[in-house]
C-alpha cells in the first residue's frame, strides 16, 4: 500500500474484529485510525477536527452507514465516505451512491480500499 498523505480515518463496523483489522491494514499506510462499532458511537467520536475519511459498513444496528454519512455531512464535516457491504443489491449500492459515498463489496479488496482512502 502506497504511503500517501496521512489521514484521519474513522472505521465503523459492528463486527469489531473486522473493524479492527480494517483499521490495522489502513494503519499500515500511516493513517490515523479510530474504530467504532455503531453509527452512534462513531458520531460521539467524531470530535474536532473531524475525520478526513469514514469507512463504514452499510448495515449497522440503529443508524445505517448511509445515514451516518449524511449526518456527518450535515454537521459540516467534509468527510470522504466509503460504504462497505456484503449486500450488493441495487438498493444498497444506490443508497450509498445517493449518500455521496463510494461502495466497496465484501469480501473486501484491501488494495482497492487503500486506493479509495488515499483518493
Amino acid at each position: 500500500m502506497a504511503t500517501g498523505s496521512r489521514r484521519k480515518i474513522l472505521v465503523v463496523d459492528d463486527n469489531v474484529g473486522l473493524a479492527e483489522n480494517i483499521a490495522e491494514i489502513l494503519g499500515m499506510a500511516g493513517h490515523v485510525i479510530e474504530v467504532a462499532a455503531s453509527a452512534e458511537e462513531a458520531l460521539s467520536k467524531v470530535g474536532s477536527p473531524p475525520p478526513d475519511v469514514v469507512v463504514t459498513d452499510y448495515r449497522l444496528p440503529g443508524i445505517s452507514g448511509a445515514a451516518l454519512v449524511r449526518r456527518l455531512r450535515q454537521d459540516g464535516a467534509p468527510v470522504h465516505a466509503i460504504i462497505i457491504s456484503a449486500h450488493t443489491d441495487d438498493g444498497t449500492v444506490e443508497d450509498a451512491r445517493r449518500a455521496g459515498a463510494a461502495f466497496v463489496a465484501k469480501p473486501i479488496d484491501f488494495v482497492a480500499l487503500g486506493r479509495l482512502v488515499e483518493g
Partner: protein, 388 residues
Amino acid sequence: MQHLSFLENVKAYVGFDDDASVALRGGHPVIAPHFGAIIDDFYDAIEAHPGARATITGGATQIQRLKGSLLQWIDEIFRGPHDQAYFERRARIGRVHVRIDLPQMYMFTAMDRIRVGSAEVIRNERSLDAVKSRELLTALHKILDIELAIMLETYREDLLTKNRTAERLATIGQFAAGIGHELRNPLGVIESSAFLVTRRLEQLQISDASLSKHLEKITLEVQRSNRTISDLLELARSKPLNRRPTEASAFIARAVAATGLPPSVEVDTMVPAGTILDVDPDQLTRVVTNLLLNASQAMRGSGRVFIAARREGNRSVIVVRDEGPGVPTELRARIFEALFTTKAKGNGIGLALCRRICEAHQGTITLDSSEVGASFRITIPDQSGLGV
C-alpha cells in the same frame, strides 16, 4: 362424489363412450390405407412452416423416425382400446413435447392436419353409409379433443412441478442468502487477519515455509468459501443480463485465471482467433469457473481440462471437458437440479447456477456423452439484432 381418473373425467365430459370406441374401431380398416397420405400431409405442413420446422432439429432421419411413431399413434386412435394404458402411453408422448419445449400452439395446428385429413377420408368413403359416417366423424372429433386435453394436462403437470421447485428454491434461497451474508463477516475477519499476519512476518523478516503454506491454505479456503457464498447469493436472486460482444480467447483466459486451479491441473484452450461470443461475460465467467472447479475436483486435483469456445451458426458454443471418471448414466438427468449433488462435500448449487445463467441467455447447458470424463456443452443463441 366418485373420484374419476383424468381420462374418465374427459371422456365423460365429451361423452366418449364404448359406442364411440366401437365406431373408431369399425372405421379402422377403411381409413388405415390412407394413414400414409395423412402422415405425409402432416409433415409437409410442418416443413412448409418455418416456426414448426424449427422444432425438428434432426433432419430427414428424424422425420422418418417421427413418421413411424405418428403411424403407430394414429393407428391406436382407431384401434383402441381407449383405456388407462392408452392414456399412459399418450401422456408419455405429451411429456416428450414438454421436454423438447414444443410450443403448445403446434399441438393444435398439427392436430388440425390429422383432423381435417381423416375427416376428408371419412366423408369421401363410399363404403360408409350416412349414419356410420356421422358416428365415425363424431367419435373422431371427440377422441382428438381428448388427445389435446391429455397433452395440455402434461404441460400443466410440468408447470406445477416447475413452480413447486421454484418456490422451494426461493424459500431455501432466502434462508441460505441470510446465512451467506452472516458468514461473510467472520470470513472477512479470517482473511484480513491472514493478510495482517503475512505482512507482520514480512516486517519481521521471518521466512518460514510451514507458516507460508498454512497462511496460503487459510487464504485459499476463505476464497473458496466466499465463492460458495457468492454462488448461493446469485442463485437466490436473478441478476439482469448485460450481454455484449465478448472476445472469446480473452474471456476464457480471464475465467481460467479467476478459477485459481491447482498447478497440477493443466488447461488446454482451443479458441479460433477472432471468435466473438454474444454473452454476459461476468455471469458466464461464473459458469466456466464452476465447470472448471468441478472438473478439477472430479480429477482429484490433477489432470487435463479442455476448453473450447467457437461459433456454430448464430450460436456461441463453449465446451468444457475433463479426464475424470465422468457422470454415471443414472445421475445424468439430475445433475443440474438445485440441491442435488454427486460429491461427498458438494452443495448442489454450482451446476444449478450454471443452468440458471445459461437459461437466462435463452441457451442450454448439457452433459454430452463422451468416451472419457465429463463433457459439458454450453450453447447460447445470439440475441436477435446484435449482429455479432
